[in-house]
Structure formats: structure tokens, C-alpha cells
């Protein structure tokens, strides 16, 4: 544990208004205590990283959409076969279980069904492009 991590710990303590932490593992033993006066913390306004608290700290960076990822390695196709219309395009409303694309793997065509309902905001992979496991394919705004 280095200084950066200790400071991060202190930040977490402040955020949650923890007065005291003791920590011990195979490598280190660490104790951090704010003074029990408690008040000491109240008037802090300036500098510090947070200040956040009062209003609603949980309003953290809400990701604007859900992402559908590839569950396998293979080649991404937007349509069932060349010339067919694509399963889904930007702006389309999709429901759970609706086919979004095909991933070809080991010469098998695997239909990928949506696991969210919403509107397709962005298609992140071009037709015919190889995809890895876990690669983001579609961004969907949940509805």
C-alpha cells in the first residue's frame, strides 16, 4: 500500500464519514483515525476532493446507455445473409430476446439476442469485422 492508496482510503472514509479504520494483512498494518471531535470535519469547504456529499453524492457519471457485448469470438454480421436486411439499425427499438446480429464462429452462425429493451444508439462494429470475447457491439438506450 502506498501513499496514493492511503489517500484514496482517507477519501473513502471522508465520503462515508468514517471516524476510524484499522487494517491488517500479511504485508501491512494500518490505522487511520479522524479526531473524535467530529466537528472537525463539518466546516471543510475548500480544496478537498469531495464537497459533493450534501447534494446527492450518488449522482455519479450515469452511463448514458447499456452495451451489448459479444459472448464469443467470431465474425460479426448484421444480417442473416448477404443481401438480407440487417437485424437492427440505429434508431430501431429493440426488445429483450430480439436478434441483433450474427456471430459466425467455427463456421456456425450464432444469432445474438438483445438482453435489453431500448433504442439502438450506436453500432460499434462494422459488418464482417472480427470480434473478440467481451467486445462491445451495440449501445442501447434503455427504454
Amino acid at each position: 500500500m502506498d501513499l496514493v492508496q492511503i489517500e484514496e482510503l482517507i477519501r473513502v472514509m471522508r465520503k462515508h464519514r468514517v471516524g476510524e479504520i484499522e487494517f491488517e494483512d500479511a504485508e501491512i498494518k494500518l490505522a487511520v483515525r479522524f479526531h473524535p471531535a467530529g466537528v472537525a470535519l463539518a466546516p471543510v469547504v475548500s480544496a478537498a476532493p469531495v464537497a459533493a456529499g450534501s447534494a446527492g453524492p450518488a449522482a455519479v457519471a450515469a452511463p448514458s446507455g447499456a452495451v451489448v457485448k459479444s459472448p464469443m469470438v467470431g465474425t460479426f454480421y448484421r444480417a442473416a445473409k448477404p443481401g438480407s436486411p440487417p437485424f437492427a439499425s440505429v434508431g430501431d427499438r429493440v426488445s429483450v430476446g430480439q436478434p441483433l446480429c450474427i456471430i459466425e464462429a467455427m463456421k456456425l452462425m450464432n444469432e445474438l439476442e438483445s438482453d435489453v429493451a431500448g433504442v439502438i444508439e450506436e453500432i460499434l462494429v462494422d459488418n464482417g469485422q472480427p470480434v473478440q470475447f467481451g467486445q462491445a457491439l451495440f449501445r442501447v438506450r434503455p427504454a
Binding site: 464469443m72 469470438v73 467470431g74 465474425t75 464462429a105 467455427m106 470475447f133 467481451g134
Partner: protein
């Protein structure tokens, strides 16, 4: 430089062996594709390969062992060959077949040979057919104590009585003579019945202090077969090798030659077309076939050091159909090499010790080779095997190799996780190591004696 044997190699493995294959490919002019699980995003084999494909979540069965994802990774990157390393899919027949079905070359044996050597019985049949000595035994369960005595009379005492469904040293008993066999037979079957719900027992000749000697072999498509000398891998902890060396010390020349010839004979008789290892147990002046591993082994390094042959490059060239590049009489064993496997394990309990490496210094200098895939701040993952690094020392003779190994081990610093190094330092410092006074049970006995 001669034409590369392949254009692009997918390496279906991780850790030090993935790095080892990448290095061989770079020297051969072959481009490389790494595969990795989500836990290995920042692993060195991903960093040093030309391309890398994520093939699944951390659990090996969903990534490194997931055949469709690994094959697809080769497909989408246009690889024309697949190297399986060791472990994972290296001896998986379905995988070898899938690689071939997708028009790529599997760097290893044919599926048929994998089948022959993957099954203990057919491997023994092949050895028997090639005239290689086997350890005598009942082969299967014995019907009753009378059959046991008949077999034991043929096999010769002492014999080992083994519960068919036992394992890990449980349900085994040694009988010194017929009287003792009759005495322990009923106990062993009763115990087997109680412990494994099946009283079936095998009988086998008991070797009290065998050495594990293995021969590195190679064969080509033109019927050529050679050996590249032997390795002594007797220092094992519950069948896990932790120190290996080449050549084997204090092995009578006639015995050494007989084992080497047996290995070549076996390879020749099976139409073997890759590199591999024939493993034997040696007791006194006798030797017995154990198994054949038709793949690159962890300890191939010590053979490379004393023969000067790059076994991984040889394996790749043989898979491409090249003939063996040397005759038997051109293989010269020179000097002595010892490998220590540094595992992320508690040195006394051998419990895995994954975690972040907070401090790391590998020794360098003359005669020191390090095959590793870690560095300071690297995380040893809990999902895979615990090999962290291989320390290989080479010197003109065994005595100097041991002297070199001692300082090299002392200089090897791994902080943040436990490693087997403290145990190995004690072993190498023990007079029995210098005296070659050890066998496959030495470490287990030594640890048992240490416990109280």
C-alpha cells in the same frame, strides 16, 4: 534467413510457455497471435505478441480451454498454425482435430498419436510392441487373494497393493512377501470398500526408490527419429516436478544407452513426427516405461542448454514437414544444466499463493537463463497453474552448475506472494543433492520427516 515455415501462429496458451513460443516464432519469421482471458489483459504474452484476441472470462474452461473461441480466434486472425504449449489443450484430441478441420497446422502430433499416448493402456501396448520394458503388475483388478499371490510370484516381491479407485497415496500397501501379501490383502480391500465403496485392488511391482528419467525425442515424416539425451526429474513433490536436470548424473553408461535406445525404438515404431518425451522409472540397473508426452515439456529448457538445439523451433519445423536437421551422432550433450521451477505456492504446504508481486528481481549473469512471464506489480492469477518462473543454470559440469544455482537462487527475489524457493534452496544445499542421492519419493519423505 530461410523461408518461415508458417505465416502466422496462434498460441493457445499463456504464461512463460506462450512467451517461449512467441520468441521461437520471432526467430523463424512467423507472426504471432496471443489469446487471453479477461484476467490476462495486461499479461506479457499479450504485450509481446503481434496480435491478441480475448477468448473469454478468467476461468480456463471458458477461455483457454474453450475450443470454439480459440479456434475462432485463429480463424479471424488468419493464423495458419496453432501452438498449444503444454497443459490446457496440448493433448486434447478434439482440439487437434478442430485445428486440422479449419485448415491449420497443429504444432504437435497427429490426433491418432495423441490417442495412442493419451490412453495409458494403448501407450503401454505401444511400448510393449516396441520391446520397451514395462513395470509388471496385474493390469486390472485382481479377483481374490489367490490370484494376487499368483501374480505377485510372477511380478516379484515387494509388490504394491493399490485400491483401483484410490488416489493421492491413499489405499496403498506394500507387501514384502507372500505371507505379508495375504495379511494386507483383506485389510486393503476392506479399506477400499469403506473409502471408495469398491473393494477392487490392483497389484504391481513395488519400486522402493526409483529415479524419474526421461528421454527427449524427436521424429520426422520421413521415418527419422533421434533422442536428445535424458533429463533427471526425480525431485518431485506428489508427482509434481520441481527441480530437473540434464544430463542425468551417476547413470551407468550402459543403462543410459539402453534407455535412450528404448525411447528411440518406441518413437520409431509409432511413426512419431514431432518432439516429445518418453518417461521412465529407473531402479538399480532396471528401467520401466511410464508414459510418452507428445508435446513440449516445462523442463525442455535444460535439454536445450546442453544440446544447443532450440526444441520449440524444431517442433515447429517438424510440424511444417521439414526433415530432422541433424543425425543422431550430431547431437552432442555438453555441460550440465539444472532447472528450478519457481511456483507461487507455500513452500511447505504447497498451497497456491496467488496475488500481486510487489518486488521482483531475477538473477542474471553467466550461465543463467530465466523463462518467466512476470514482473514487478504483475498479478499471479488464481485461475491457472502456479508456475511463476523457471530458473535455469548451465555450467561446464554438475558441480559448477550447483555452485551457480546456489547464488542464482539467493539472488532471486519474489515479494508479495509465497514461492517454493525456500524449499528448493534447502534441497539444493542438502548434501543428498550434490551426491545424486535422491529418488521420486525423496521430497515427500523429507517433508514428512520435517513435520513434527
Amino acid at each position: 534467413m530461410s523461408k518461415p515455415p508458417f505465416q502466422k501462429m496462434l498460441i493457445a496458451n499463456r504464461g512463460e510457455i506462450a512467451l517461449r513460443v512467441i520468441r521461437a516464432c520471432r526467430e523463424l519469421g512467423i507472426r504471432t497471435v496471443a489469446v487471453y482471458s479477461e484476467a490476462d489483459r495486461s499479461a506479457l504474452h499479450v504485450r509481446f505478441a503481434d496480435e491478441a484476441v480475448c477468448v473469454g472470462p478468467p476461468q480456463a474452461r471458458d477461455s483457454y480451454l474453450h475450443i470454439p473461441n480459440v479456434i475462432s480466434a485463429a480463424d479471424i486472425t488468419g493464423a495458419d498454425a496453432v501452438h498449444p504449449g503444454y497443459g490446457f489443450l496440448a493433448e486434447n484430441i478434439a482440439f487437434a482435430k478442430a485445428v486440422a478441420a479449419h485448415g491449420m497446422t497443429f504444432i504437435g502430433p497427429s490426433p491418432e498419436l495423441l490417442g495412442t499416448f493419451g490412453d495409458k493402456l494403448s501407450a503401454k501396448d505401444a511400448a510393449r510392441a516396441a520391446g520397451v520394458p514395462l513395470l509388471l503388475g496385474s493390469g486390472g483388478a485382481v479377483a481374490d487373494v489367490e490370484e494376487a499371490c499368483q501374480i505377485a510370484a510372477v511380478v516379484g516381491y515387494p509388490v504394491l497393493l493399490k485400491a483401483a479407485f484410490g488416489g493421492g497415496g491413499k489405499g496403498m500397501r506394500v507387501a514384502e512377501d507372500e505371507a505379508s501379501l495375504r495379511r494386507v490383502f483383506s485389510i486393503t480391500t476392506a479399506e477400499a470398500e469403506a473409502a471408495f465403496s469398491d473393494g477392487a485392488v490392483f497389484i504391481e511391482r513395488f519400486l522402493p526408490s526409483p529415479r524419474h528419467i526421461e528421454i527427449q525425442v524427436a521424429g520426422d515424416r520421413f521415418g527419422g527419429a533421434i533422442h536428445l539425451g535424458e533429463r533427471d526429474c526425480s525431485l518431485q513433490r506428489r508427482h509434481q516436478k520441481i527441480i530437473e536436470e540434464a544430463p542425468a548424473a551417476n547413470l551407468a553408461p550402459a543403462l543410459r544407452d539402453a534407455i535412450r535406445s528404448a525411447a528411440v525404438q518406441l518413437v520409431k515404431s509409432t511413426g512419431y513426427t514431432t518432439v516429445g518425451t518418453c518417461e521412465f522409472l529407473v531402479q538399480g540397473d532396471e528401467f520401466f516405461f511410464l508414459e510418452v508426452n507428445p508435446r513440449i515439456q516445462v523442463e525442455h529448457t535444460v535439454t536445450e542448454q546442453v544440446t544447443g538445439v532450440d526444441l520449440v523451433q524444431l517442433q515447429i519445423r517438424l510440424a511444417a514437414g521439414d526433415p530432422l536437421p541433424m543425425r543422431q551422432d550430431e547431437v552432442v550433450v555438453r555441460g550440465h544444466s539444472i532447472e528450478v521451477r519457481v511456483n507461487a505456492e507455500d513452500p511447505w504446504t504447497f498451497r497456491p499463493s496467488p496475488g500481486r508481486i510487489t518486488g521482483y528481481h531475477a538473477p542474471g549473469g553467466p550461465g543463467v537463463r530465466i523463462d518467466a512471464a512476470v514482473h514487478e506489480q504483475a498479478v499471479v492469477q488464481p485461475y491457472y497453474d502456479s508456475l511463476v518462473a523457471k530458473l535455469i543454470v548451465t555450467a561446464p559440469d554438475r558441480e559448477r552448475a550447483i555452485a551457480r544455482l546456489r547464488w542464482a537462487m539467493d539472488e532471486f527475489v519474489v515479494e508479495g506472494i509465497a514461492t517454493t524457493l525456500p524449499l528448493q534452496r534447502l534441497l539444493v544445499a542438502d548434501p543428498c543433492f550434490a551426491a545424486v542421492d535422491f529418488h521420486t519419493r525423496t521430497i515427500d519423505q523429507w517433508l514428512a520427516g520435517r513435520e513434527p
